[in-house]
Symmetry: C2
Subunit: 318 residues, 2 copies
């Protein structure tokens, strides 16, 4: 088997790529601007040129086993980026085929959260685990589910959308998916900012968050305020952690995972989030699962995680 | 491979067993009373005697490949019936080992709903499906989840307790599991009877159900009344089907199954249940999954289903 894989993470702003070895060491990485090219073929050409330069500079020519790509709405089964995604080119995009033709190497693709789960299983906190659920807490809430050592893709390749579990059945917040009450509308970075705006409007107590124009408040502002002892900001984390903990308890009755692994900006909020999360998870856990699933933080370095996750898929590309 | 398996379904009242061939034909079956024996060893001895008599009478001696058992709280991984179950003997019970010693044949066990799912996959409506979810609507609500052609047991062997998804987060009904708001408290036969009592107490309109002493109303009474055009009884099915449809939409974001397969008494309510169920499922489905998962009824004959399901597990007993 060739010793390296190429991991590519396609985001709305940047496309990051890296050469990775079997132990998860990123030998070298680079990036290009995703939105710079109005034409898909120009984008792919720049990606090919830049990645090839990186491969040559690192003596990896003919040593790439496969390419793994993490991209929004990417379907593992079809190798296609499906409709409804914020990229500058018309969808669907037969990405796996196009990239494979360019590079002459097998390519496998999946969505970002699944890639993160595979990365965590191959190189991170889920090494050796056969049953776990990855939850990515970023701008949205993503998830990757592993059962019996296998990624769960479902019948159509789109399984594992746990950010869209309904956590408020009635009068819930509008979600980007068009429905209301999804987990993502509460427990993402944007969800935390929405909670801040709600709390500040409904409640009257003083808070340092009132010094920030209300539409500009970010989850980072709430974190900073909470760390400085602001009661209302702490309450926002209690609210967020409680909803997430209730949701994790619900997910447990499905696949009884050994662990939940949290990843992304909000996951780094420490005890502000974890304390109410653990309390709610324990309180709402079905008795036979009580105390069983662990909640762990990702062990992948944030800077490398996207590329590592994508690259791990390269090992199974055919 | 030997041509037959023995399927055993252990219920609180009866234990049913049957000899089944590879095509799912039940050659012969029998039953004993589960609760008749205060001692487990006496129960196992009667089971052995009766099953052996059946095997001999059907010329199946030395032709049994394996034994599959469906039993409450039975754990596939440990082969044990765990605590918290309504059987007359002390738990945990190392059932697979005990039965295997008696019969000299490999034994595999799992809970009733998982056995039903395996039966459906082997002989019923899920033949050829790799991703589906079995929902059993009986006294309680059970489930068996199949992903990528494999039964989902989870880290501890207890995965697939979808009857205990929380469908009412606050002020939900008390459930047998000790929590409140579980799907089972609404969409089981007992759940339907509870809804009837609630509706009859809260609402004032006439209903033929008011002729029955309120504590004695069963889901069958509600069904009969609805079929006779009783408006309140129909509303009870609307309420039940809506909650179940919402829950199935939620389950879809997890594993994106090809189909949900409904089994058990309530599943036979026809359009009374299915119409509101489909409407709620469609209304609450995340857009990318809309119109995808089918809702099918079990194709196993009720009388044979439990034994068939359990027996299917016998093929993989080692």
């Amino acid at each position: 088997m060739k010793p390296y894989v190429l991991g590519i993470d396609i985001g709305g702003t940047n496309t990051v790529f890296g050469i990775v070895d079997a132990r998860g060491v990123v030998l070298a990485s680079g990036s290009i601007k995703t939105g710079k090219h109005a034409k898909l073929e120009d984008y792919l050409e720049e990606l090919y040129q830049e990645a090839t330069r990186l491969i040559e500079a690192n003596d990896a020519v003919d040593k790439i086993h496969g390419i793994g790509i993490g991209a929004p709405n990417a379907n593992y089964f079809t190798g296609t980026i499906e409709d409804g995604v914020n990229l500058p080119w018309p969808t669907p995009i037969p990405l796996a085929e196009l990239v494979s033709e360019k590079f002459g190497v097998p390519v496998a693709i999946t969505n970002d959260a699944n890639a993160a789960a595979i990365g965590e299983m191959t190189y991170g906190a889920a090494r050796g685990m056969k049953d776990f659920i990855m939850i990515t807490l970023g701008t949205g809430v993503g998830s990757g589910i592993v059962i019996n050592g296998q990624m769960v893709y479902g019948h159509d390749g789109f399984a594992g959308e746990l950010g869209h579990l309904i956590v408020k059945r009635n009068n819930g917040r509008l979600c980007g998916c068009g429905r209301t009450g999804c987990l993502e509308a509460y427990c993402s970075a944007t969800g935390v900012a929405r909670t801040a705006r709600e709390f500040l409007e409904i409640r009257t107590e003083p808070s340092s968050l009132r010094n920030i124009p209300i539409e500009q408040i970010t989850s980072k502002d709430v974190y900073d305020a909470a760390m400085n002892g602001d009661k209302l900001a702490k309450d926002i984390f209690d609210y967020t952690g409680t909803i997430l903990g209730e949701a994790l308890a619900d997910m447990t009755v499905f696949s009884s995972p050994q662990a939940f692994i949290l990843f992304g900006g909000l996951a780094k909020s420490g005890e502000l989030l974890m304390k109410p999360l653990r309390a709610a998870m324990d309180k709402n856990m079905m008795p036979i699962f009580k105390g069983k699933p662990k909640v762990l933080l990702s062990e992948l370095k944030e800077a490398d995680a996207a590329v590592l996750g994508a690259s791990a898929l390269g090992w199974e590309a055919k």
